[in-house]
Symmetry: C2
Subunit: 685 residues, 2 copies
């Protein structure tokens, strides 16, 4: 310990000496902001009320010792789970004591920043009951769920089937003699696998199973199944339930008990079938209800909106760390005696980082727009108008896919932009990546979702001119003839920063790629074969369609008044960076379709470089506007004050392996080597 004490004394000396260039640097960066950061915080949060709520919860969590993070310490899985259960229980106590609304409770859980079974209970189990249960069923189950007298999960995916829900193998066979269903797991591949909260905590599961009655298979339906005793938490007879083991990262989703579940002749009462859309009568007759099946898709739109919102938050978090650290970090570039150049001043750093900063903002506005799309859609549904559903379904599927893929890659890019130190857990980035990546798979695999968009695009093109005109985000396709014939007219750099020019370019790219696919498919011997052969190109067309939507939604958000000095101007710069960075990274698309010439792409590149210069002095303030607390960020590199090196150092010293100067295992495994006693001492081990 002696040596650690020396270092502490040294630190104090250095600290008093005031050698904190890093901290001065960030203060200087902030003084250069050309906009009102507080006003931007309101824009980012989506309003004053939302900003205050966030700040209140952030403070509450950061000041409560029960929620302290020891996230840089490797725990065993059991320790981590127990720690998570403790925090969830404490949160529940607070929620009750302080009479939190559902929104407040959700915000609190977000700030605890440690996923748990509670996220699934509140975020999936309860919404599923609301969406799929009859009113009478809701009356029975919701009070139990709201009070957490039962804790639930959503057991859909199986070992052998994720995306192809229709081929799930679990069976629920109606048995008239007991007026109930017998649930079974016929094969290993039919084992329920992945549901969060299932492995160790849930007492109940919404189980998706193949409904069999009177010898007929009616396909996949949902049932509520109690799986654990409410008295002693033991699995009920016929139930096999366990945790599926560890996952990516040292923490990430390891704090969630994703589970496996098997049924051996488990009997459930008939009324445990969720019967909003269809029922089975006492006699075993299958009857559709008069509720339109399309209603189920409304929930899907809402979930996808949340995923896009989360994408913006997660990307913003990574970008905050990378921007602040890039401003503090200096390397190369200046003569002896002078401080080196800030890494943020390198064009190679800017060209990777600023588009991600712009993307975080783009997704924020996209999420806000998807909120209103959801409200509009639900309003139509209530009037029994389902005409917008295909378009809304396709567009939200694609936006989920693009936003999550880009965010996952973007977080890893931010980690790389922090150099070697980004590899440390104390940078906050490794676990941010590990906890984010599953969003590329859950709620629809991203590739499969893009293929759904492609099917919609192909169908839309097919019916053009037949009276079925495309609407909403696909409306531009009715203009396809012009879009495929008129080429871009950009002749100088500044031509590129016109919203009209940009929108048209993205429309032309999307329409041309889609049309090319349609032509390729039409030339194939069958449509299925054509679709399969063209599937890579179809992914490209879908991506183009979605990126067009994101660009236009960002532009659309800037059409209104936005208060605050310089706020709108910064957002306009970011919007142009977002759009032009896509023009340059997807240059292949624009050139392949002949819409742009190489010279026009070059003009976009140099316009982009100019925009980078404009955003450079505002970069630190633009991430400040995300309003992340140091507690929430959990990053030595992303600290608000810029004191990164001392923070890295102090975090390292906290590692339990540093509790003693001589390591555990020295006597048994290191000393015998150094003392050349291996032959003798080792054999005694």
């Amino acid at each position: 310990m002696r040596s650690l004490l020396i270092s502490k004394a040294l630190f104090i000396a250095l600290h008093l000496g005031g050698c904190k260039m890093e901290m001065k640097t960030l203060a200087q960066e902030r003084s250069k902001a050309e906009f009102d950061v507080e006003a931007m915080k309101v824009v980012w949060a989506g309003g004053e009320a939302s900003l205050r709520l966030n700040q209140r919860m952030a403070e509450l969590v950061a000041n409560d010792p029960e929620f302290q993070k020891d996230s840089r310490v490797m725990q065993t899985r059991s320790e981590l789970l127990k720690d998570t259960f403790r925090k969830a229980a404490h949160a529940w106590e607070l929620i009750n004591k302080l009479h939190f609304t559902e929104e407040e409770a959700r915000c609190l859980r977000k700030h605890i920043d440690q996923p748990s079974y509670a996220d699934l209970h509140w975020g999936v189990f309860i919404p599923a009951i609301k969406g799929q249960a009859t009113d009478a069923q809701q009356k029975k189950w919701l009070p139990l769920a709201y009070s957490q007298a039962i804790i639930g999960c959503y057991a859909q995916t199986e070992l052998g089937h994720g995306s192809n829900v229709q081929r799930l193998e679990t069976t629920a066979t109606f048995e008239p003699s007991t007026d109930g269903f017998i649930v079974n797991t016929p094969t290993i591949a039919a084992t329920k696998w992945w549901p969060g909260g299932l492995g160790k905590v849930s007492t109940h599961a919404i189980v998706h199973a193949r409904l069999l009655t009177n010898g007929k298979d009616y396909g996949i339906h949902a049932f509520i199944v109690q799986i654990r005793s409410l008295e002693d938490h033991q699995p009920l007879p016929g139930i096999t339930v366990a945790d599926i083991g560890t996952k990516f990262g040292s923490r990430a989703y390891n704090s969630v008990d994703n589970g496996l579940l098997r049924f051996n002749n488990v009997h459930i009462p008939r009324e445990n079938m969720l019967m909003r859309l269809a029922t089975v009568t006492k006699e075993g007759k299958y009857v559709h209800s008069n509720v339109p099946t399309q209603l189920a898709y409304g929930a899907m739109v809402n979930v996808r909106k949340s995923i896009v919102m989360d994408a913006s938050y997660s990307l913003a978090r990574a970008v905050t760390i990378a921007v602040r650290y890039s401003a503090v970090r200096r390397q190369f570039g200046v003569q002896d005696g002078q401080p080196e150049m800030q890494v943020l001043d390198y064009m190679t750093q800017q060209s990777r980082l600023f588009p991600l900063l712009a993307t975080a903002y783009a997704y924020r506005f996209l999420g806000q727009w998807m909120s209103s799309l959801y409200s509009d859609t639900m309003a139509c549904f209530e009037n029994n108008d389902f005409s917008t559903l295909p378009e809304v379904h396709a567009c939200t599927a694609g936006l989920k896919s693009i936003a999550t893929s880009t965010t996952a890659d973007g977080i890893e890019e931010c980690r790389k932009l922090c150099g070697g130190h980004g590899y440390l857990t104390s940078s906050g980035l490794p676990d941010l990546f590990a906890v984010y990546v599953p969003s590329c798979t859950y709620e629809g695999d991203n590739v499969i979702l893009l293929l759904q968009v492609a099917r919609y695009l192909m169908k839309t093109l097919k019916f053009l001119g037949s009276g079925k005109e495309p609407s909403g985000t696909a409306a531009y396709l009715s203009n396809v003839t012009e879009l495929v014939s008129k080429n871009c007219e950009v002749a100088k750099e500044s031509d590129w920063i016109s919203p009209k020019t940009l929108r048209y370019a993205f429309e032309a790219r999307s329409a041309r790629l889609a049309l090319k696919c349609a032509t390729q498919i039409a030339a194939a011997s069958t449509q299925d074969e054509g679709f399969s052969e063209a599937s890579c190109e179809l992914l490209g067309a879908s991506r183009a369609h979605c990126e067009l939507i994101i660009v236009t939604r960002f532009m659309g958000a800037l059409e209104r008044e936005i208060p605050g000095r310089g706020v709108k101007n910064q957002l306009q710069i970011l919007c142009n960076i977002y759009a032009l960075s896509l023009v340059t990274t997807r240059a292949g698309d624009f050139l392949m379709t002949g819409y742009l010439s190489p010279e026009q792409v070059e003009l976009a590149k140099s316009q982009l470089r100019d925009l980078f210069k404009k955003v450079r002095h505002n970069a630190v303030s633009l991430v400040d506007a995300f309003d992340y607390t140091d507690f929430y960020l959990g990053s030595s590199l992303g600290r608000y004050d810029g004191n990164v090196y001392e923070s890295l150092y102090n975090e390292a010293l906290k590692d339990p392996t540093n509790a003693s100067a001589v390591t555990e295992g020295y006597t048994e495994f290191i000393r015998p080597i150094l003392k050349q006693q291996l032959g003798t001492s080792m054999s005694r081990l």
Copy 2:
């Protein structure tokens, strides 16, 4: 436990029932191979002897209970370190007992598959002594190091400086009165940070410090410093040493004690300066030796070769898992009653996976070529011929950068290609990614390395025609006039599979991008400013140059005879896939420079689709040829027998959280919620 027992019985029943479509599927895949897998194994291993050595070590490790992997269990960091020390000690005992050569020992350590301090001692500390110490110094230190009477690490990077070695801040001030150096750490940022093996194990460190003598700063030099007592392992006076804490992944490099190190007036004898290139006399005079400084670069070439070899092994490992699982996994695509389609049959899967399969092979041949490049370079050096150094330095820097970036992304892509199950630790993929990614940073940050290539390319173009003709991998640049004027002549799909056509296309792309950058820089007000403004384009030019080298080295390797039925044919297909997948993914480059027309890119795409069909039936056998054992792969998804679902299930049940049916923490944190006793019981916790 009751429920788990039920499930075991069920398994046995299912097993005896023989419902293992997954296993049959892989057997069928293997029966379709159009080449001799055993012969391919020899090619991949680089010869019979190498193959046998690998197989011998793989078997030795797999059968030794001391080396068993419990890699799916989360341990505390201290447990993991101790486990690693135990394995390293056991390995050292074996190495001595079985009288292994250095090559055998290295191969053994590789198969243990758990990085440790020993990798740094043998792989960095000893080579550094060989490279930088005088003969007399080697005589003193090497026997100690070889017997591990001392254990060493390489302490170069500091908290504040990684890439910019010349700005390291640690000082070594010569003190004539004691005939030694006083080593100091003047600031927090000067703390040595990252060296593997430093944190908990090493007794000695090679420390890079600023040499000061007679009031003059002679820049960075290397010194051997003892940091821990050889008696009790305590840090020596004036030394602060500790572990820097946890890193990415649940295991990965957490088994290595990367460390921090600070010096407070630490005295070392003068002869501990590594004096091969320069010495300090008793009087404090700094004297260059007559050893050419260029010799130091030889070691760098060798290290980069090893990194490229490792890239091929790591990518091959990920590809093995993804190919086998994609063959076994079925989803969608066929009518009721029939088995679903193998995921490997989807074009979207093939287009992402097969280029990575081809890339693994490409890097293998690249690594082999870099071995001979190293020998050739050393032979030149021995004749005091350093003329090839700039070209060799640039090319190996770039190849390290491209190979590691592509491999890191490729491993993550393979994880995504395995869908949700790829997120499980038992897939083997998360930790493979976490353990691989630092290679993008160590031994040179990948972006900085590409900028070094760019400097070389710009210099080469500048001196064209001046008599200084480019040689080696840059020789094509002397043909730049033709390369920028003659466009591609491909007129039909099959034109693309000519080596000459492909090579010329890559030469043209590289030459054109380089020339464009040179023109852009020449137009800038200063060369530095031009270089900085053009840096993103320069990265593109460097990438093009390196990819050209990789393509031509793959082709070059196929010019010789390759024994074994169908082996060469498969490799030719893979080589074309590698090259054409680059043509299509880098289409933007080819179109921007005007070398290809959109139609020609389309032809490349459809040729590529044809090649995918050719490789499809050989894919499983092509990964079998990598010859990874199940033990080494450590992947439920990548098992040789294809029995993935049962394996996933069994691995899950082994998780310590499944030791009891009722979870730890139930009584304290879950029961009170369910029993609605939170207000009372929680407050008692």
